[in-house]
Subunit: 276 residues, 6 copies
């Protein structure tokens, strides 16, 4: 099925890299030359972005053959072959960098997400991303988080209500803000309220928030909030989430743990492509 | 001066985040509400992306006032105020995430670049980025590398000739590849040849490459290459470049050291924006 | 605040109408001619789209002055002046048709919505739109429904889960479909299940659907469903909703009534613009 | 043959509806699931937009098979099957709403047009649309008018000269306005002049207008105008055209009758698509 | 008044030239440097494109001051100052080439057109352009032809009917083709028929073509056609039109003479811009 | 391999010409009609743009068959068949003008370039284009120059450093300007300095410019510059280059001769397409 978002992204990424043309390949490689290529994982990783890479080459040249030896979500050890490709040499070279840049970045996100998810195994909590994504790549990054075993938070400002202190002040209190949101937002959207203290948690609960975000709270406060709320709302822990702290946070009994680092600070995984 | 590239990037980033509208703000904040806001560096960092953030808000609402207290390239300690803003509350909220996402990412790149640059101080070598950038953000990322004190490699496939093994094989040897490139590329482009062994370095030199890339060589090989070439071509070290290895590499006497990690693996710097 | 969506829509609408140029105006009216104009409601209506019309003229010529005598949401009687404009004559003529086409269409939607809303006054139910909108105009049409006193359903396929028979069959039953949706969709999205019989209502309730759609049910069935569900889920009546039937439907106690006709079959309201 | 306009329209319409993804289908339906579907006319209508719907599905997934049982321009009775489709289930679901929204709207226009055309059968007059179309959909709406048996007026401001009172005043009289238009417009464009009184008709005739629009005239005035002009110019009746008045107007002997309601107020025809 | 077409054209032209940035200016000129500049006609010419050039600089930097000393349509002698500019140095340098490329090309067209128009002074015939324009620049080129004193032919395939031999064969004869066109095209479009022989002229006349194109006829044939048609249709001479032949052609009494060379072969006029 | 640049260019060119539709073909030719066509060189020329023309038709209708009888770079005599096409008649007619407009323009450039190249045969100098190209068509025009046997200058402001007097003044002298450029530009870009006198040539040489442009110098000065530089930098002659002067210039021993006329003043070559 056509993926308008992905096609536009690929087109822009290729235009950025190729510009008016690949001077090296045009000078040295014949237009009808064909080659084989192999993609290789050069470090242990959870693979993501292979489907995206395939689309990069399909976009460039519909006759390139793409034989995957792995799939998104696979745990790969360094040295594993990911895919073989066969087709027009210039097209393989023109797509190589864009395909790898995307795969390396997305596998980085999936791999980091999987580390968090592993750490909280057995707990009820689900690991979530945030809106702290790379401008232009949000959908792919959120896909990668899911591939890594995490879940998504709202996509943007439009598909979920998240009431923060500015909204509360402007609306004249938590209850009024929640009420205003219920009146304005459509009925398939839930309402989440950000809180920083136990009083605010109580207030949000009284205002019938569907979800309460515990923002930058200590683990003790989180535990207290879980007790206070007692299942009457979903709880999301946010702030100070790291590989060191995530297990403790999960053990407080919160439902969700969100971390911007999943998408904004995951180092790229090493993947190469050799054209033969 | 109008920056077509940046305007398009900002428009797409905002469209991605805002979509059909900010449901929370529309429900709780009046259309004509005005607020002040402050941007804060929450960790030590080399600032980049402030000019970009300013454009995000200018794009959203030309009447927002933006008072910078720092500028791109400044070394900030955690807790420093970066800027104050004043204007339409909905616009401040709508631009916040995109502005921060860009600044945090770009400051991350500038900060990491500056660490590399510091490590090679006193050596002749210049630290360079690569084409291993985030699709869609290449120009901003390359700007951030320069802000961090590094230099840029070619922007894309179009503004520099980089001959690798595939090109050499296809052209029938290094000499023929360089010759073909000279005939095809315009006269303001230099020609770089990638090498993996001393023999290949010698061959590239004989073929009158302007620049020779030493790909994944040991420090010993690099030293040998510097001696062999003796200033008759520029030398670029590439591969296995890390904060641990970069000084040794620089001390071999190479002219350039390029590292993809500058752009693909720099963790985001923590920057917040509080609306009051 | 910049409205990217609206700006693109206006640009495309004007390009469609003006194409390579307004041959009549270019031939007969001087480039620097200025005029006054007045917009007039020519029939009773609930006004919507005035803000949009203002943007059309602002886009075309930032120096056009626009003096509104009414605002979106006002009930106007035929003959009421809506706004006066003053500025470049060619720009007034170039924007006239696009501005009016949008206003007439959106006022038609708001007016029809208000008729429905009036008919169900005193009932608990809220009148909703659907995805049966005009391709390209969805956001403006949904704004017009809210201006008319209605509420919105989800915007598109992305900001709400609506499980229909195909999804249920594919997932292997209602419970499995709801469970799959909870696992995939983010936690700020509610889940609605479409039902056609009382058994299906019971099943959806058992599966913990947040909202149950009663599709094409008789008023008697709806009443029964309200009793059965007893507040444990929200209920949305859909299908066979008309000005004749809406009151009866509302009196069954359902929470929402959705009707595609609000957006796809509202006749345009008569609005003129005279340039003097 | 590629239809650039239609492809862009479909791409935008699908992007509007699908956004970052169909959360329901992604959760419940496998990526490679295939289904059959049937499109059904649920009320009597003159079909339009079937070719457009076919393109929607072709755009989404080139492997979807589309078997039409009717064609644009067919008079269908409620209950008639319009087409069967077979292919990827997610793609069928993703295209369903956009395809139906377009077909229902276009069939509405064609059906209403056909009613007008039927009413004036035997008269010389031809039924025309206007520029009162839905922004972004003008070409498809004008196609639907032709499918309904009507004719088109000029497409936009660029492909026909229509001189109204503002142009006349600015040019210094009807004769001068026509003369200016002849000098400026290319020779394949005719010139029409809008008139409100018999004096203006006479003036337009004297100025050698190719076509004279009788704007908001009574039937008596139209009859008089026909007599006065006596074939020396084409006559177009405009204003107050309804299903009630159109026959009388046609019987005056005018050549064209234009009505904005064809495109701006035609209720959508009921068409469903069932996926099996 | 906003000119959507021109803004898009300028944006694309600047993006083509500037790409990721002006490396020379960024290296050597401060971002806030200001300069004066002067545009100079370096050969005799009829000026066109000055308004376009002004928009190029306005697009780049709204604070650049632009003082025109001439206007489109002026006959300039070599050495004449066309305009002075004052503003940001980088913006002046960034816009220089695009502005000049457009002006030189458009002045070339206007100048050549004026030569043709001068040669046929006193004759009835009007000099016209064709669709043989530079892809992407048609509107500006057609504007330049009018600035040079010529007239325009239809803009594209959509705003005028031009029946050639293929259409005639497909329709089953001239009469049938004209009839089909009258039925399909809107009533503000005239119908032109291309002819190559006197018999075809007679046929076109009998079919009530509004305009008859005399394609590649000798001057004698044209004269005969004028006599034959005797004012019952407009006549357009096409083919073999050059500065050598145009006077003879005009003297045959045809109404229009069209020549592709006006737009596709006019040499650029020499215009310089000096930044001081 | 997909050519994003070319596809966008073709789409825009076709949209410009076809607009809302080809009224003549839609009226007279059936949608499924098929025809053969032949492209003919009507004057002696060096062919360029055939590949582009092929893409125009491929874009319009993937089923059109295209049989080339020549290829880009061939010297054709008037009367030679260039290609035969077979396929949908409406698509052939819709693509005809755009395809021919591009081919005629590009063949014009290639033919003129070849004339220059022939004239300097035996000399060391290479004929180059400039940035004086048609906005929007630069890449195709530069391709045509290479097809004609010339070479390219830099593509735009971004892929080569060209230091002119403004840059020198702003930087505080030639040496400082070159130094600033070396520091800012990436290491695959060479630096060229524009000079007008022998003193400036000497200065540029001392500043280690890679290339020195001799701007508007007499042949005598060029000869002197060649002697002075003695191979220590490449020399480019620019200004006053014509078919009359180019041989003399080449004989001075300069390395490159650049001429804007190659792209901005080459008359179109006559090529026709007949549909049978």
């Amino acid at each position: 099925m056509a993926d308008i978002y992905l096609t536009r992204l690929i087109e822009n990424a290729l235009a950025e890299d190729i510009g008016p043309g690949d001077v090296t390949a045009e000078a040295t490689i014949k237009a009808d030359s064909v080659s084989d290529a192999v993609m290789l994982a050069k470090q242990d990783q959870l693979l993501a972005g292979l489907d995206v890479a395939r689309e990069v080459f399909r976009f460039l040249d519909g006759t390139i053959q793409f034989f995957p030896y792995a799939k998104d979500g696979d745990k790969l050890t360094g040295g594993t072959e990911i895919a073989r490709l066969s087709g027009n040499t210039r097209a393989l070279l023109a797509g190589e960098r864009v395909a790898l840049n995307l795969m390396q970045h997305l596998s980085g996100i999936a791999t980091l997400t999987a580390q968090y998810v592993d750490l909280i195994k057995g707990c009820n909590a689900r690991m979530l991303d945030t809106r702290k994504t790379t401008p232009g790549l949000r959908r792919l990054e959120k896909d990668a988080v899911r591939i890594g075993g995490g879940g998504n938070h709202r996509f943007g400002l439009f598909d979920g209500v998240l009431i923060k202190d500015n909204h509360i002040k402007a609306a004249g209190g938590v209850a009024k803000a929640v009420e205003a949101a219920r009146a304005h937002a459509h009925h398939l959207l839930r309402i989440e309220v950000e809180t920083k203290t136990m009083d605010e948690v109580a207030e949000a609960l009284a205002a019938k928030a569907d979800i309460i975000m515990l923002d930058n709270m200590t683990v003790e406060m989180m535990r207290e909030a879980v007790k206070l709320v007692a299942g009457r709302a979903l709880l999301e822990a946010s702030g100070n989430v790291s590989l060191q702290t995530v297990r403790q946070i999960a053990e407080t009994g919160v439902d969700f743990i969100s971390a911007g680092s999943l998408t904004h600070s995951a180092p790229a995984m090493d993947i190469s492509m050799k054209i033969k």
